[in-house]
Structures are given as C-alpha cells and as structure tokens.
Symmetry: C2
Subunit: 660 residues, 2 copies
C-alpha cells in the first residue's frame, strides 16, 4: 500500500460503520444500567423516571449527532473537535480538548474492558473472584495484539458489530412482542427483589430531587460516548467523504438511539433491578458471593430462556466482543491523535513522521499501562470508572460545538448568497443548540460527579495541558534560534581533516583513504598515547606501511581518549577560527547488540563530547564487521500500515478484503 494508490483503499459506508461505531454502539451495554444504579439509590420509588430520562438522553444523542454532521461537513480533514477548537477558539481551547481526548482514550480502554469483563462474568459467574485479573489480562492481550501489529480492517470488525446490533435488536423485538402481545411476558431474574433506599435517600424532595434526577441523567449520558469517532475519521471514507461520513453518522445515531431506548424499555418491562452494590438488593441472598448479572445479561436470559440458553450466550458473546473492539479502537485513535498533536508541536515530533515501531510501541504500552492502573485502582468497577469517563467526553463535545458556532459566524461574513446564508444559519442553529445542551450536561456532570471520580480527571487534564504547552514552548524557542541570518551561509575558509588512529588496520586505512578523497586543506592522523609500548608499536607499523600522512601523537595524562582529542581540536580552532574541522572516527558496525559492549565505546563518547565544539563536524566511517552482514534491513522490516492508519484513510483495505 503506497500513498499514491490511496484512492483505492477507502472505506465504503458498510465497512466504515463497524469500524467507527463499535465504540458508540457498545455504550448501549452500560448506559441503561447506569441510570438504574442512580435511581435505585432511593429504592424503587423513582424508577418511573427512567423512561423520561431515556427520552432526554435520546434527544441529546440526536442533537449531538446532528451537530457532528455539521462538523464532518465543515472539517473533512479528520481533526474533529481538536481541529475545530484550535481553529475557532485558539490554543487554550485546542489543548483543553486534546487533554480531554488523551484522558478519554485511557478511559475508553478501562471502561469498555471492565464492561466486557462484567458481561463475561454474567455468563460464567464463577469467574467473579478473578474480575480484576480478567480485566487486566484483557488489556494486556489487546496491548500484545497491537504490539504485534494487529490492524483494524473493515472485514474483521464488521462481523462482530453486525452480530451485536442484530442480536440486541432481535432481543428487544422478541421481548417487547412477548410482553405486549403474548401471555408470557419477559420477567428478569431480579424482578422479585426489592431495594431499600440508601441512607440519605429515604426522602428525596425539592432541590435534592432536582440534583438526584440530574445525576441519573448525567449517568445516562454515557450512551453518547464515542459519538465523535466518525468526525475524526472522515478521510477514511470513500468520496464524497463528508456526505458519506454524515450519512454514516445519522445511521449510527439511529441505531444507537433505537438500541438504547429498546434496552431501557425492555429493562423496565422486565422489571430489572440493578443496584450499586449487590447486597442492596433485598432478596438476592447470594449477594456476598455471586455477582449481579448486567442488565443486558438479565434481559437476554429472560428473553431467550434462562442463563444457559444459546440465545443468552449469543448476546453475551456479542456484547463482550463489541466492548473489547471498542477498547481496541482506542489503540488506533491514540497514535492518530498523537500524530496530529505532534504535527502542531505539542508532542515530540517523531510521533508525526513515522520512525519505526518503537514510537507506536511506547504509545501502546502507555495507554495499556494507565488503563490497567485505573482498572486495578477501581476494582474493574464500570460504575466508578464511568464517572470519570463522561467528563472528558462532554468537555470536547462542548468546546467543539461552540467552536462550530464561531466557524459559521466566520462563514457568514464571507457569504452573500441568500440561500447559502440560510443553510449556514440553520447549521449554526443546530450547533448552538448542541453546544447549549452539552454545556448544560457538562455542568451537570461536573457538579454531580465531582466527588465520585471526576475530580481525578479535572486534575490530570491540566497536567497534560501544561505538558503540551511546555513542549510547544520548547519547540518555539528552538525555532527562534534557528531563523537563518546572513552568517549562517558563510563558507568556512579551509577544511582541516583529523583522522583518529588507534591501530593500523582496515578501518583506519579506509578512514584515511576517505578523508584524503575529500581533499581537505590540512590532514592530520591523530593518535592518543594511552600506553607507551602500544604507541611505539603503532608508530613502527605506521612507517612499515609507508602511510603518506604523518602520525601525530598526543599525550593522555589520565589514560583517557576523549579530552586529548577535544583539546587538539580546540587548539586548531583557536589558531584559525574560520577553519572547519572534520573529525573522522572509524566505527565498527556490528550485528548483535552485545557486540556494542565490546566495541565503539570510545568512539561514542568522543562523538558525544566533540559535538559541543562549534565549527566541528564528526564523520563516522563505518566498518561493517562480518556479523553485520545481512542485518542492514533488520530495522526497516515490518514498516507498513500502522495502528490508526485505517482511520486516516491510509490503509490498503482494498487489497485485503473481498468487500473492497
């Protein structure tokens, strides 16, 4: 796959949907459950609010999807909220979004894997005591797969995503049909449990009630996580890119809304109870040893004939799989964001140009490490992890939407056509509504979730912000030093070549021959006298070989090599400051890392010191030892598509899938 053939490899909508939608659609697996957890704090008295909260969440989802349809049209380059914020609000907003997104990638992994683990445990409750180990193991597995070069591909992702969507939809329809039209309604295993209110929630009225409802609503907003993914992936779509991306967004939004409302409706119909702690459920006698099944698992069991039926295992497998796929998307999105931030000089620049796999490996290990840390710190508890997750998500939603409002203002200024202006005004109105709603939700989240984990994110984000700011400042400071002036084009008057000699052997003779080939104005063969006997032997050999350059010997009082050479070079520069000194250092090229322990230590140290001298160039004259033969491509092998390439339209999907 080469960039000149990019056009052939872009994604049709039917493959783009599973790639980008696994993250947002997988939210269905935990959003309903999160609403129930908050509502049941006050016993079962407020469960009647659930449908209204679900409706509010769906409305919010629709608004956000509509808003992002404007984004993909206006910013088809795939920069998403970060680009929108940077271009319309400047660096402060841009870096805030970037910090939020970096945090969110870690939490996407942690939350999705934890939720996946819960659904595996729902199918095999015996695994409950290994919850954290299982979740950390899954993160390690994902990291290993990505380190080994696992790549996203529409084909492999399409199957589980469509299996999940169809499975959940069949479950909803079956369940609701049984409930409405047959005599055997769906009844969850927890339907018979009652819940006693938590201390402080026995009487919820007035302002406390408002706060309580808002808190439940904020929890439901987890249904929206991942919606922004498509906005970052516009370049991967087949042309017309923006239109296809917008269509896919609408499709994804429709499916997510349907699944979320369907699952919520069925959960209420089946009378599912789900509490923060299993033992809050009165009647669940085994609460000390057994886990609560997830809402999805309870519905699947109730609909398809119990927790041993094939239908139940199908739903659990598909749910766990899509959640793990969702976690995997973070491993692809993370390097992509890193590349964009590096291009803007907020992260080390090697993240932009592709060096070798090392950079990606470090990114994967960082992501997996922090996710595993969070999972371990919070006992793989989805509910606790989610409190942190939604802060970052809604921060970037909000800043992005308000950025779009500004964007349209600018467009309006340069647009005279009345019809076009009307279209712009409509887009602006959508984004303004989206921005207003997400702002309100963000405030609700910060207020209701601050003490429940959001504080940690609000602490980490500024740290990341300042780190990126410092990197940017460093690069700017360096760039200022490097602006060309007249001096920098002056040619040195003369060239003085210095060839370092330790022995009369092939590498030395080659270095001498190469140095002579560059026809310097002066040529010195230099050796450092560390051992008198060795130096005498060297001088005799030098004469025997009749080498046409005289050998200069410098003394080394402390038997070391670096300082005498540096001093010699300094003295040349002192005598004729406009002369350019070129130091030729023969160097062995070895095939195995351990050979470096036996060679080149002096050369390395010397180069490290010489580079501090102005007007000095260091020329390495490599000598390939036999062990190096055949190793020249070792570091170049395996360069090809990398994680995240598919999302920026850089992968040769066409060559690999029969769907292309």
């Amino acid at each position: 796959m080469r960039s000149d053939r990019l056009g052939e490899s872009l994604l049709p909508k039917r493959l783009a949907l599973p790639i980008f939608a696994s993250d947002p659609l997988s939210s269905v697996a935990y959003a309903t459950q999160e609403i129930l957890i908050v509502l049941t704090l006050a016993g079962t008295a407020f469960l009647y609010l659930a449908p209204w909260l679900a409706i509010a969440v769906v409305l919010l989802l629709v608004t956000v999807v509509l808003s992002y349809r404007q984004v993909v049209r206006a910013y088809p380059s795939g920069g998403g909220d970060y680009e929108v914020a940077m271009k319309n609000h400047g660096q402060f907003a841009g870096l805030t979004v970037a910090s939020a997104l970096l945090v969110d990638y870690v939490l996407t992994v942690a939350v999705s894997v934890a939720a996946g683990t819960d659904n595996i445990i729902s199918a095999f409750p015996a695994l409950n005591e290994h919850r954290v180990a299982l979740a950390v193991g899954l993160v390690a597995l994902l990291a290993a797969a990505n380190l080994r070069g696992l790549r996203e591909s529409g084909r492999t992702f399409a199957v589980p995503t469509y299996l999940f969507i169809s499975g959940i939809l069949v479950m909803i329809v079956t369940g609701l049909v049984r409930d409405l039209f047959t005599g055997s309604p769906v009844v969850a295993e927890s339907a018979g449990y009652t819940i006693t209110p938590e201390p402080g929630f026995e009487q919820v009225t007035g302002l406390a009630l408002v706060f309580f409802v808002l808190r439940a609503f904020a929890s439901g907003c987890t249904a929206l996580t991942g919606v922004e993914a498509i906005a970052n992936g516009v370049p991967a779509f087949k042309p017309p890119k923006s239109r296809n991306a917008a269509t896919t967004l609408a499709l994804m939004g429709g499916i997510a809304a349907t699944m979320f409302s369907g699952v919520t409706a069925l959960a209420l119909a089946a009378d599912v109870k789900y509490a923060e702690h299993p033992c809050d459920l009165v009647g669940f006698t085994a609460c000390e040893t057994e886990p609560q099944r997830t809402v999805i698992a309870q519905l699947a069991a109730a609909t398809f004939g119990g927790p041993t039926s094939p239908g139940f295992f199908y739903i659990q497998a598909a749910t766990a799989l899509i959640l793990i796929l969702a976690a995997n998307t973070a491993f692809n999105g993370f390097p992509l964001l890193g590349s964009v931030l590096a291009q803007d000089r907020f992260l080390p620049r090697q993240l932009h140009t592709r060096g070798d796999k090392l950079v990606y490996s470090n990114g994967i290990l960082l992501l997996a490490g922090f996710a595993a840390l969070l999972i371990a710190a919070f006992d793989a508890d989805v509910n606790r992890l989610i409190q942190m997750y939604i802060v970052g998500v809604f921060t970037s939603f909000t800043i992005g939407q308000w950025g779009m409002v500004r964007h349209w203002n600018r467009e309006l200024r340069s647009e005279d056509d009345a019809q076009a202006r009307r279209r712009i005004r409509r887009s602006q109105a959508i984004n303004a509504v989206g921005g207003s709603l997400t702002t309100i939700v963000l405030v609700i989240i910060v207020v209701t979730k601050f003490t429940r984990g959001a504080w940690l994110v609000l602490l980490v984000m500024p740290v990341l912000f300042l780190l990126m700011k410092a990197i940017d400042r460093h690069y700017s400071h360096v760039a200022e030093q490097l602006v060309p002036d007249t001096d920098s084009r002056l040619l040195p008057s003369k060239v003085h070549a210095v060839v370092l000699v330790s022995k009369v052997h092939k590498p030395t003779l080659r270095a001498l021959a190469f140095a002579r080939a560059t026809r310097p104005d002066h040529l010195t063969a230099l050796t450092v006298n560390v051992d008198d006997a060795e130096t005498r032997a060297l001088q005799q050999q030098w004469e025997r070989y009749d080498i046409p350059v005289p050998l200069t010997v410098v003394e080394s009082p402390y038997r070391e090599i670096t300082r005498p050479v540096v001093d010699f070079v300094k003295s040349i520069r002192r005598d004729s400051p406009r002369e350019l000194v070129v130091v030729f250092v023969p160097q062995y090229v070895v095939g195995h890392w351990w050979e470096n322990v036996l060679h080149n230590q002096s050369a390395l140290r010397l180069r490290a010191r010489l580079q501090f001298q102005p007007g000095v160039m260091i020329t390495t004259v490599p000598w390939q030892l036999e062990s190096s033969i055949g190793r020249e491509d070792a570091g170049l092998r395996g360069i090809g598509p990398a994680p995240g390439d598919l999302r920026r339209g850089l992968t040769d999907e066409a060559e690999h899938t029969p769907y292309g």
Copy 2:
C-alpha cells in the same frame, strides 16, 4: 597529577604497608576462630591440636611470603599471579587465575564486611537481629563512597592499620604477661562453657581423624588471604621497587604471623570457646537471642576489663575498621584487574583505556551487588562465606608458584654465571616448596570444603573462564578481518555529498555550507516528502532564500524518513560503485537529556541504518542549541585518579600527604 610526574608520587614502605596489608592483616580477625569452629565440632577433646595447626599455618604463611618475594623480583610490573601464569603456563592457566581472582574480589568484600559486622555486633549485641541489613548497608556504603570517588591514600589508610596492629599486639602482650607472670590470668567469658560433640563426631579416629584435622587446617589457611596484594602493587613502590616490595612483604608476613600466633595462643590460654552455632555451647543459656562474641572480642573483653571497658571498644573499633578497609581494597583491585584483563582482550577494551566514570561505576555496582547477594544468601555468616573464599585464593597461589618454577627454568637456560645460577636455583627451590605446599592445601580445601560452599566457586569459575575466552575469541576474529590488504588503501574516485534537509533554518544552511566547503564532486540537497503541504512550503522557502543547490525530493509512501534516504544512497552506489557517498546530517546538541526526547530521533535512526551501507560516511553537523552552552565539559569534569590508580603507581600521593 600527570604521568610525566609519576616519579614524585610513589609510595614509601611505611605508606605502602597499610595500603596493601589491610587485607592480609585483617585475616587475623577470623583465622583463629575458624580453626576453633572446626575443632569444637568434636567437643573440646581436640582443642589440644590448635597450637599445632597454628604452627602449620604460620609455616605455610612464611613459605608463601618467601615465594611471593621471588614473584615481586621477577615480575615487577604488578601483574601478580595472573601475569606469572599467563607468561609461564599460557592462556588456560592465566584465565583460571583471572577467574579465581574475580571471584575472590567479590568474596573479599563479602567476608570482610561480614566479619566487620560480627565485631560491631560483639560490641553492641542489640544489633544482632539486624545482622544482614547491617552488612548489606556497609556494602552499600562502600559502593556509594567509591562511586563518589573515594580514593585510597597512604595517609588515611595508615592510621587505622597501625591502630589495629598496635592494639592487637598490646592485647596479646598484656594477656600473655597476665597469664604467665601474674596471679590474674585472662579468662574468656566462654571459658566455663562445655561443648557436646556434633552427631557423627563423638568418636573421631583413623582416617576420619586425618580428614578432621585437615579440615581444621584448611580453615586456618584463611589467615593467608590477601597475601598476594603486594605482588600486584609493585609499580606503586618507590625505587628500588622490587626490593622495597619484597621488604614490605617480609614485614607484613612477620606482623601477620606474630598476630595470628599471638591471638591463637591467647585464645587457648583464655580458654575461649567458639562453636558453629551458639546453642552448641552448653552453659550459654541466652544462645537463642544473643550472639557469640567473636574470638577477638572475647579476648579484648577478657584482657582489658570486660565488654564495656575502653580497651575493649578500642579493639572492636580498630578491628571493624580494618575489616572494612580490607573490603574497600577490593573496590580498588577490581578495576585494576579489569584493566589488565582488558589489555589482554579478555574483557571489553574500554576497561583498559579510561573512558569516563561510567565503566568504573558499573564495576563498583557489579562488585557490590554480588557481594550483597552472597551476604544475603548466607545470612552474613563469616564461617559459611569463608568456605568459598579460600578456594579461589589457593587456586591462584598454586598456579602462580608453579609458574615461577617454570620461570626460573627458563632463566637457568640463558644464565651461565655460576653464582647467578645458584641464586636462581635457590629461588626456584623456594617456589617449588611453596607450590607443593599450596597444591596440597588446595587439594585439602577442595576435598574438605566442597560440600560446604566450595562447589559454588568451582561452578562460577568455569563460567567466568568461558566468558573471557569468548570475548578473546571475538576480538581475535575481528582482528583477523581487519588486517590491511591492498584494497583498503584505494582512494574512492569521486565524492558525492548528500545533505539532508527538513526545513530552511540555520542548521540546514550550516550543513550545506560545510558540505560545500569540502568541495564534493556532486552535491545533493535531499528532503523526504512526508507531508505534501510541508514539502511545498519547504520548496517555496528554498527558492525564496535562493539557495545555490537544487532541492531533491524523494517520496515516502509510509510517512517515514529512513528507508527513502537509504534507498536514495543505495541508488547512488549502484550507479557509480567507486563513488564515496557522504551523508550530512544536521543534529541538535542539547543541554538536558529530556531534550533528546524532542529532537534528533530521526537523525539517530537514520545514522543507525546508513552505517550498514558500504562506501557511505555519515557526517554529523552539530548545531549547538542555547541549552547546550556551558555543558561542553560536563562529561569531562572529574577525570582524574580513579580507583586502583594508587596500586599501579598512578596517583599523586606526594601532592596530598605531608608524608610524601
């Protein structure tokens, strides 16, 4: 201190003695005790053998000292047993000695620190429960001091050594005088204890008795450890070096013999009991919680008025101090041996030429790490550690003495003068006796100590042997590849300079100017197109600055830099194989390590790959960023005398001490 002023800084005998004798003299602190430990295995029945064993050890000590007086005369270069073995028996024997010595340095640290700890605990029994922590802490302290550049100096070492010698001698004289001529003989605190024989030692007769006596004798031979130190330090003596070294050896031997026999005599007179385990002592009721005091401590307490008297504390302090000094000598001898082995290509060659402190630091950490490991593994138990120690010591004694016998044979062949031949024959006789005795002792040690720890040393020595052999083979193999032939002096026909360009800024312009100053036959300014927009901007700038070299752009299908450049260079070489390619890589010189994370990653990777191409030189054009200013001497500071220099006559003692 510079090598041209070496003559001024050599050691007079009175300063050489404490430097080299702290190790052998400190053996007095545990040799008597080791004999007692073995003898008391059979109860008190065989304690009468102790004087005879002590006499045998003293005779052996005298023989070995006489033998080494021949070594320092014949090999004044300070190579010691290693040099003797290498020159007279060849590589196999030489590497065997080297392995033994490497092991012994580790054990010198472990044994001396453990014995020092015992003597500290004898003064402060409450520290007994922290024995291992205390010993490991002392090793860490020694390592830290040596890492910080602690140097041996005659002055600082003289005081504790002479305090120890005079203290022990005063104790011996006082004790024996009280015993022989006064009515208040010295009685040890353990005099009243009895000892029941260990199982299997109730009846020791026949062959078992022989074995038992030999085992006790082997334990007493620990008195000889460290005797070889002077043979490695001849270059440090004032001229006449060999004669002064021989005199110092005789002096040291005399003092050691006196102290060892005195301590043994006093121990028997005072009826000291010392058993392998405290609870073997019948009558020592607190054996579970309290430690046995060392033999030295018991004698000091008995002689000077109990374990709270000033005299007692004086002896304990001096003993602990000299033991810790003895451990410290290993930190000086280790790099010295490393340097000699590196010169002979059995260890990485940077150990010979002094690079920076890094090499020494690694050596210090290795030595301290292994010593701490042994201490922890053997619970800082001197008795168990010593079983391993003497194997290596007597291995190098034996090989060295037999090497000397061969040496004198060679001398005889070229000597005709009758008187000189007589002198040689006498020396040879001394070494033959020494060699025979040490061989017998070595066999005794291996046989009696094998199962008690010697096996570990006999396992590690071959591993070290093979490692050094492999390093030697590697260097030889490389040297063969490097023998000059006619080809290696051919001048390349033409030079093609390639300057890597990423931006139009000072480093690039300087690299271009420098490249032009070398007047190559061809000059290419090369950039890699990673990002179309950036490349277009670069081309525009290139024209605006009116740079007199055309800019060549190569495409990068996978957004990476290394491979396109390597391919470009390969294509030059393919088209004209005799042309020399010089790749100019601008590189930032930074002042802080973390700045390297932000710069030069591509340059480093590129250089690593380019060096595999034959006929290619890589020229680094350093650009000193502001942060690098003032850092040029950072790596050169602190170069001066290093551990072990004093021992090879390389330290400016004269400047630092009023004694010089």
